[in-house]
């Protein structure tokens, strides 16, 4: 049962400011359905850069990203936005919740944008996702009223709203204390176990990486392990 969800084919990228540096030098790997992958490496080795290339937000690279069997090369900005909306869920180091909206609305927004379900269905789905993360009782609060750990859980719920093919995380535990970081890890592994959720997480946390299913280690713009 190895269905490829995300393929990186010989991805290279250069930064030109102030001098040309090869950040990624022909990175290739495949992530299959249901894998919990940690992307690790020293600071500046290009792991975050790689994540943003794979996320379709950064389009300035050579090589190819294939998501769910479809090449991301040559898709328009609107098509890429639709791919991110439907197939990718994001969790960042910072929660990026919209403070002017309620917790529930924050989770609902990508679902409303997708437009596959009615407003009521999106609301029910959002409540369900919040319930999975134990945040259902905070749904009516404004995002700014939550603690750091709670915000990150809401951000995960938001990432889940459209049942994405893959969840991408950029240091999702980087801003959290040990207890909250463990909780987030438990959430991720729970998602993998219970829903066969595919995850690709960039992390510094050796402990976090060791406990995930697979580790991709990067060094100097290339995959080491």
């Amino acid at each position: 049962m190895s269905i490829p969800v995300l393929q990186a084919n010989n991805i290279s990228k250069q930064f030109h400011d102030p001098v040309t540096i090869d950040v990624l030098k022909g990175v290739s790997f495949t992530i299959n359905r249901g894998e919990f992958v940690s992307l690790v490496g020293r600071s500046g080795c290009g792991k975050s850069t790689l994540l943003y290339v794979l996320s379709t937000m950064d389009t300035d690279y050579s090589g190819d990203v294939v998501i769910d069997g479809r090449s991301m090369r040559g898709l328009s900005e609107v098509q890429l936005a639709a791919v991110r909306n439907k197939k990718i869920g994001f969790v960042f180091q910072f929660h990026y919740l919209l403070n002017d909206f309620s917790v529930l609305k924050n989770v609902m927004l990508p679902g409303l944008k997708l437009g596959e379900y009615s407003d009521r269905e999106v609301r029910e789905r959002a409540m369900y996702k919040l319930d999975i993360l134990g945040m259902a009782d905070k749904a009516a609060k404004r995002a700014s009223q939550l603690s750091g750990g709670e915000k990150q859980r809401v951000a995960i719920a938001r990432a889940l709203i459209n049942d994405p093919l893959i969840i991408m995380g950029d240091e999702p535990t980087g801003n959290l204390d040990k207890r909250n970081a463990d909780a987030v890890f438990e959430i991720f592994s729970g998602l993998m176990r219970d829903f066969q959720q595919t995850l690709l997480i960039v992390t510094h946390d050796q402990d976090f990486a060791r406990r995930s299913g697979r580790i991709i280690e990067m060094g100097e713009g290339q995959v080491v392990v």
């Binding site: 943003y52 996320s55 937000m57 936005a81 909306n85 439907k86 409303l112 944008k113 437009g115």
Partner: protein
């Protein structure tokens, strides 16, 4: 479905920045209100001043000009044909002042579908005496009914009933300053002498004030029959025919046509009062310029506030784009905000402008020159409101467009990695 979520986000952002939003909207409100009020006031004034002239001036005036015969005898002599004629001291013939075969002219004018109506008139210089005082003046013989109907005669008769001049035999309406000078009032009798020396006692039945003081000091109105009797002329003696057309712009063409048809002098209103047209259009132009400037300033206010909002909401824009909102979605959100501010401000401005106009309309404005005006004149032409609305929405759209485009180009990677 897709639009609804964008409206939802735009509304939430607006509500979160309610104070800034209101300040921006008030800018538009002020601009629109001033635009509407200024144009209404300026054009009300224009209409009034134009009315002073157009209400009382014939669109086409037919009369017999006293002028030298263009065909002098020497030109008719066969032996001097082809030579250049020098003639000194050419004098006009003492021709008749009345319009020739006026009955036929009236017949033709009445049949003309372009003509709204006509008012016959007799002009005669007179000397008005009251006791030892002698004053020169102009006597106008008018058809009161036609004057009332076509030239708002009643607006300028400040005392007495204008119809009395027709009903009461041997009656006259005097210019108000003239009456004051003669120290007469309604019911008194003044003596009027013609240039031919005939003297008649006429009873004063009304006072007239046109607003042009020079005119009012010499002016008397009487019925056609009274003036004909005064001059010893028969009922076909008419010196002027004041024609009012349905469309004032046809006046020059009509004047030329009548002049050639009836062999009379025909003067159109555009030639007689060219300067009024110019004055009105320049005043309108200035008020448009000021109004549009106000709206553009309001547009800069919106531009600033949206720019600020975009800097504040960088994170929100980044996450919206990361979670699947495209650049054009983000642009729509900020354009919606801008247009909402524009429409809210515009509606407020139209109402405020209407109230302000109404306020000005009720301010007392009394001047001896304009007897019928008691408050400031204001025009409520819906066209000004439509222009203000259209222009304010265009301005706010333009003001929102640049910041919205900037927002749509925000690169989420730069924002998110920058943290």
């Amino acid at each position: 479905m897709k639009g609804k979520i964008l409206v939802d986000i735009a509304t939430t952002l607006l509500r979160a920045r309610l104070r800034q939003t209101i300040v921006a909207a008030v800018g538009v409100t002020f601009g629109v209100a001033m635009f509407v009020t200024l144009l209404g006031f300026m054009n009300g004034l224009n209409d009034m001043l134009d009315g002073l002239i157009t209400n009382r001036t014939a669109h086409v005036r037919l009369y017999n000009e006293i002028e030298p015969n263009p065909a002098q005898p020497v030109a008719l002599a066969a032996e001097h044909r082809g030579a250049y004629h020098f003639i000194n001291s050419v004098k006009p013939v003492n021709g008749r002042k009345e319009i020739y075969s006026v009955a036929k002219v009236i017949e033709a004018v009445t049949a003309d579908p372009d003509v709204l109506g006509y008012a016959p008139k007799i002009t005669a210089p007179v000397i008005i005496t009251d006791g030892p005082v002698e004053l020169t003046g102009m006597m106008y013989g008018v058809d009161v009914d036609a004057e009332l109907q076509l030239y708002r005669f009643a607006d300028y008769v400040v005392a007495g009933n204008p119809r009395d001049v027709k009903i009461v035999p041997n009656s006259v309406i005097l210019g108000k300053p003239l009456a004051e000078k003669l120290f007469v009032n309604i019911g008194d009798v003044v003596s009027i002498a013609t240039a031919q020396g005939e003297q008649f006692p006429l009873k004063v039945v009304g006072l007239y004030q046109s607003g042009l003081a020079d005119l009012d000091r010499t002016l008397c109105y009487a019925s056609l029959a009274t003036v004909q009797k005064l001059l010893g002329q028969n009922a076909s003696y008419i010196t002027d025919l004041n024609i009012k057309l349905h469309d004032i712009n046809k006046a020059p063409g009509k004047a030329a046509w009548y002049a050639s048809l009836f062999r009379v002098t025909a003067e159109d209103i555009q030639t007689a009062n060219a300067q009024f047209e110019t004055g009105s259009s320049v005043r309108s132009l200035i008020s448009y310029a000021v109004g549009i400037t106000l709206l553009i300033v309001a547009g800069f206010g919106i531009y600033n506030i949206l720019n600020m909002m975009i800097y504040e909401k960088m994170d929100a824009i980044a996450i919206l784009k990361a979670t699947g909102f495209s650049g054009s979605d983000v642009k729509s959100i900020f354009l919606l905000i801008s247009i909402t501010i524009g429409i809210a401000g515009c509606v407020g401005g139209l109402v405020a402008g209407l109230l302000l106009s109404w306020g000005i309309d009720n301010l007392p404005f009394e001047t001896a020159a304009l007897p019928t005006i008691t408050t400031f004149p204001v025009s409520y032409n819906p066209a000004y409101y439509a222009i203000a609305m259209a222009f304010s929405i265009v301005t706010t759209y333009a003001a929102g467009w640049l910041p919205a485009r900037k927002a749509s180009r925000v690169d989420p990677v730069v924002i998110i990695r920058g943290k």
